[in-house]
């Protein structure tokens, strides 16, 4: 993968989003394919659901390590694991 150049202007937004998206999937400590990365004027917003709070923290830590100048907002939730309260009947 082409690395982030770390210049003051940085890469175009689309390349940056692609790099973050791939890093989230390909970094062995993350391996998440279901996180959406949105670039806003205020910085990055990450959306998605993960299986533990540890994984959410790890995602934010790795993104901050790799892109230290970018403000990151997390909208990542931890999926609930309660038993269902409804069943679906199919004829």
């Amino acid at each position: 993968m082409t690395q982030h150049r770390g210049t003051s202007t940085g890469p175009p937004d689309e390349y940056l989003e692609a790099e973050i998206q791939r890093a989230l999937a390909e970094d062995p400590s993350i391996a998440e394919q279901g996180i959406t990365v949105v670039r806003r004027e205020t910085g990055l917003v990450l959306y998605g659901e993960v299986e533990s709070s540890h994984r959410r923290e790890e995602i934010l830590r790795r993104v901050a390590d790799r892109f230290p100048t970018l403000p990151v907002t997390s909208e990542i939730g931890v999926v609930r694991t309660e038993a269902p309260t409804q069943i679906e009947q199919l004829p």
Partner: protein, 253 residues
């Protein structure tokens, strides 16, 4: 006749998740005859992660049947992963099926991981570079194995279990651009080639829960981030005469 099926996919187990599903799983036999796991049981497909899956989903009081997902292939340890799961009694399907004797009748489940390729009119073709041909061949071979497995089962109720999606309906919510990486119409075609009652898949974390094949088979995306609970439960049987529209019931009876 009522057969009760619980299902979830994309649980992505590792040490940090062990124990989260177990309280809900302990109640499983109250509402289901079987638990189907729709692949992506692990994060990277390591033997160690498979042991976490075995700990969480092994030793339940209902049979557990699974297919593997793309994450379960990441570290090229599929034989080790399968062995760990089978050692705790989990049935791992890939191009084959199993018939269970349930109180409501014989439930047949046929499964494959499946693959991508896209959907009718917007799909990859078996043409051009060897890499593209290999991609499409992987899809068609998987779909052919699913059709063969479905047609081989002698049962009262037939269910198809895949990781990749057989229809685009249950991908609603995912970016359109990645649909070809999430499923393939050939899987739907295989499901429609047999008297399938229900198709269950995962993989599409941002998708939606309900869809139908062109042949009218109900499809459910049970990826954990979609269902947002430990598992979904479906009751299937011919005692119901409410027509062709599925509905939700407030009770487990």
């Amino acid at each position: 006749m009522v057969i009760r099926i619980a299902a979830v996919g994309d649980v992505h187990l590792d040490e940090d998740v062990v124990g989260r599903f177990r309280p809900a799983l302990e109640e499983l036999s109250d509402c289901a005859d079987v638990l189907l796991l729709a692949g992506d049981l692990t994060r990277h497909g390591t033997e160690a992660e498979a042991r976490c899956v075995a700990q969480e989903f092994g030793g339940l009081d209902v049979p557990v049947i699974t297919v593997l997902g793309n994450h379960d292939h990441q570290c090229n340890q599929v034989p080790q992963v399968v062995k760990v799961l089978e050692d705790v009694g989990i049935t791992v399907l890939e191009g084959n099926g199993v018939v269970l004797e349930c109180t409501g009748g014989r439930l047949g489940v046929a499964g494959v991981k499946g693959f991508g390729g896209g959907f009718a009119g917007r799909c990859a073709s078996d043409f051009g570079e060897p890499e593209m041909k290999a991609f499409v061949h992987t899809t068609t071979e998987s779909a052919d194995r699913l059709a063969e497995a479905l047609l081989s089962l002698d049962c009262d109720l037939l269910v198809a279990l895949t990781h990749y999606a057989p229809v685009p309906d249950t991908l609603a919510g995912e970016p359109l651009e990645i649909y070809p990486f999430l499923g393939a119409y050939q899987l739907g075609q295989a499901i429609d080639s047999a008297p399938t009652a229900l198709a269950v898949h995962g993989h599409a974390h941002r998708g939606s829960s309900r869809g139908t094949t062109p042949g009218g088979v109900r499809v459910r995306n049970v990826a954990h981030p979609v269902i947002k609970q430990a598992y979904s439960v479906f009751h299937l049987g011919d005692h119901l005469d409410q027509g062709e529209v599925s509905r939700l019931s407030a009770s487990g009876t």
